[in-house]
Subunit: 160 residues, 3 copies
């Protein structure tokens, strides 16, 4: 059997709009028969953090950072026109009205379609995020070398 074509996406930004772009591309790629990897790093980690649960991190600085930078699919904001939540709320309404999946739905769909979701060990180290801070769909944690190795075998590599 021929190897599947690969696509690798670094998800660096953690806004609602960046998350949507990343998951639309990932699930479309998977539906076209590609093997897709999503590598979540920096603010992008927020997208796949658990929505509930205790604040992770040792020491007050990490606790504070992880409080301000809370994350979770339902807390994502638009990168523009958030307007204290008003713009984000409107966008979510419009997405629903046009039958766009929510980020929660997208994560489930992507997982079911075989999209690999990986959290960046380096950022997790700095921010004090253990594996348990992430949803079960995040299958593993890996460093930059893992990403680059996937990317160099990929037809498409994007930094979102």
């Amino acid at each position: 059997m021929a190897e599947k074509e690969k696509m690798t996406i670094v998800v660096f930004n953690g806004s609602l709009d960046h998350a949507m772009a990343a998951f639309i591309l990932a699930t479309t790629g998977a539906s076209m028969g590609m093997q897709v990897s999503m590598y979540f790093t920096f603010w992008g980690l927020n997208i796949v953090k658990k929505n509930e649960g205790p604040l992770p991190g040792k020491g007050w600085m990490r606790k504070m950072l992880n409080l301000i930078n809370r994350g979770g699919s339902r807390r994502l904001k638009l990168s523009k026109f958030n307007m204290f939540g008003l713009g984000t709320g409107m966008m979510k309404k419009l997405m629903k009205e046009t039958n766009m999946p929510s980020i929660d739905d997208f994560i489930t769909m992507a997982h079911q379609m075989g999209v690999k979701m990986i959290a960046c060990t380096t950022t997790c180290g700095v921010m004090g995020l253990p594996k348990e801070a992430f949803r079960s769909e995040v299958e593993s944690m890996a460093g930059a070398a893992y990403f680059l190795n996937e990317a160099r075998q990929s037809k498409i590599s994007l930094f979102i």
Copy 2:
């Protein structure tokens, strides 16, 4: 005749600086003999919206969104140091002084050089943007599958 090398650019951000970067790369690529596609999505759609004309969108939420997120090549702002227009105005002056084309000029040039400009159907659906909201240089609307199909045949794919 040999096939042309391809380059595909997702234009996700809609600031003046991102627009400049995208068009400098697109027109340079075309001048080097590459077949370039620009796929405008999310805020990037603002770059190729008409500067004039009625506000598109059905329902008050879309009308309001398209008012706040007005777009059009002459309304783009710097992603940093906009400073209520002062920074953006200064940058435009400096661009003119160094004979840098305006975004309007870049769109015309790119079109004449055979750069394909496509608007993302998915975002247009959510935001309520019909084909008529865009300048004539935007030759069609297409979904993520179209972009990925172009990208996997491309030597260079970028997400800007």
Copy 3:
């Protein structure tokens, strides 16, 4: 001897987090045996500006722009949660605590590992930045055609 695999990174954003992402990828790529080029443009130029020295640029507009947009590896701020320097300061502390190199260290390391650092002539022209505005590790200035020529020979091209 076989040619080295290539990776090319456009560094467009100039925040501390984008700089970290770019240098982590560049140095990891180099350690895996890849020939890495970093092409600094727009705000990304700030990362490789000298930390000291007179303000570059002719005319009051450029002088003012280069004052506001001062740059230098030690002046970079987080793209989110800067909070008047508090967030950035905390992040730097956490980076140090986890033995993450500073951007200064990363630039030195990357240079020693053979990563090529290039400044974009076009942006430098608009902003009035001469070669002397940059650290010695920046080996040359080049235009978009140079970048695209590197990118089309690369296995991985990213726009950060």
